[in-house]
């Protein structure tokens, strides 16, 4: 099972800055292992963000996003105490969802 994300959501004016770290290999499928065998692609394809359960952003990623991905964006109108949920799905169909409270 994958490790939890680290989500920080901090109010800045009339919005909240959301910073997310995800634990993922983001393997390109172009690399070879020590024995010369291609390491299969394995990467997060879709990331969604919800504010109090309502979808506010969807991102699609390719394998060139760096390992253990970082994402930063701002949610308008988010206040302290609001819930930010980040979810991802990778190309193997694995998924993970974590929540943070805006502070």
């Amino acid at each position: 099972m994958s490790d939890p994300m680290r989500i920080r959501a901090q109010v800045a004016g009339d919005k909240a800055t959301v910073r997310v770290l995800m634990s993922h290999e983001m393997e390109t499928g172009l690399r070879k292992d020590g024995a010369g065998k291609v390491i299969p692609a394995w990467f997060i394809q879709e990331v969604t963000a919800q504010l109090n359960g309502k979808n506010v952003m969807t991102a699609h990623w390719g394998p060139s996003v760096a390992k253990n991905p970082y994402l930063q964006f701002s949610v308008k109108g988010a206040k302290a105490g609001d819930k930010i949920t980040i979810s991802w799905t990778d190309n193997k169909g694995e998924k993970r969802s974590d929540e943070a409270t805006v502070s």
Binding site: D3, P4, R6, R8, R19, L21, M22, S23, E25, A66, K67, N68, Y70, Q72
Partner: protein, 265 residues
């Protein structure tokens, strides 16, 4: 978490850049500032804390009674006093070798087998998480290794000799790269480790998340790769020479503020 905002650092850097052509070093500083907020080491810290508290191993026990030098279960402040002498093992131990002792004594793991496991595999992955979290619990504290025990003093002397030991096909020693201030390899600044190189530099910056490989490296792994680049044979995990070097560098770093786990190239 960083206190200074990244946009602020960038603003300062870009203002400075207006007056003159940015040097490669400035550009690299800018790159590092951009990465400073959001160090993936945080992911490993979280895992390490869980591993500390989790019941695991043949004895199905947690590490919460592990004595890292400040008494059973005391984690805060332990990292900046390691390596140190431990009476129960009769040895000077660094964080990693002490964890092996605890994993064997408390959880029933085979310490020798873990030490022989390649980096990035099996229990070695868990050790990287544990060292990330334990070091993070001393973040901002200053290195203050004990030197009261005669074995701690002898280890310092041996570490110093090991540091200057030139051999192998390239005639390198640790001092080849880390014996002078203000030098670099390619664009990498090299800390001078024969004295306190400053807050959050050198010994005070490991464990660290390695950007190049996307892995968490403890000091043991850092030393292992130093010896690889030194063209030496392979140092055993938690072997005597690695502990002695830890004592030498750690004592020299007295007063340096720990930023571990840091972010490195």
């Amino acid at each position: 978490m960083l206190k200074i905002s990244v946009p602020l650092i960038l603003a300062i850097l870009s203002t400075a850049a207006l007056s003159q052509q940015k040097s490669a070093t400035d550009a690299i500083a800018e790159y590092r500032a951009m990465l400073a907020d959001g160090n993936p080491a945080e992911l490993f810290e979280a895992r390490g804390e869980d591993l500390w508290k989790m019941k695991r191993g043949p004895k199905n026990a947690s590490l919460e009674q592990c004595n890292l030098g400040k008494g059973p279960g005391v984690v805060k402040g332990a990292f900046v006093e390691l390596p140190r002498w431990f009476a129960d093992t009769g040895k000077v131990q660094d964080l990693e070798s002490r964890l092996l002792t605890c994993m064997e004594a408390l959880q029933g793991f085979d310490a020798k087998a873990i030490a022989a496991t390649p980096f990035g595999k099996g229990e070695q992955i868990n050790l990287e998480g544990l060292t990330a979290w334990i070091s993070a619990e001393s973040r901002g504290m200053r290195f203050n290794l004990p030197q009261a025990h005669v074995q701690e003093q002898i280890n310092y002397e041996l570490g110093k000799r090991a540091f200057f030991y030139r051999a192998g096909p390239y005639d390198f020693s640790c001092a080849s790269c880390h014996g002078q201030a203000g030098k670099r390899i390619r664009l990498q600044d090299l800390p001078e480790l024969t004295k306190n190189p400053g807050d959050g530099v050198g010994f005070a910056a490991w464990p660290a998340y390695r950007v190049s490989s996307g892995e968490m490296w403890s000091m043991q792994r850092r030393l292992n790769d130093c010896y690889r680049q030194q063209r030496f044979p392979y140092p055993g995990y938690a072997s005597d020479v690695t502990i002695a070097l830890g004592v030498y560098m750690g004592v020299n770093a007295k007063g340096a503020q720990s930023v571990a786990p840091a972010l490195k190239r």
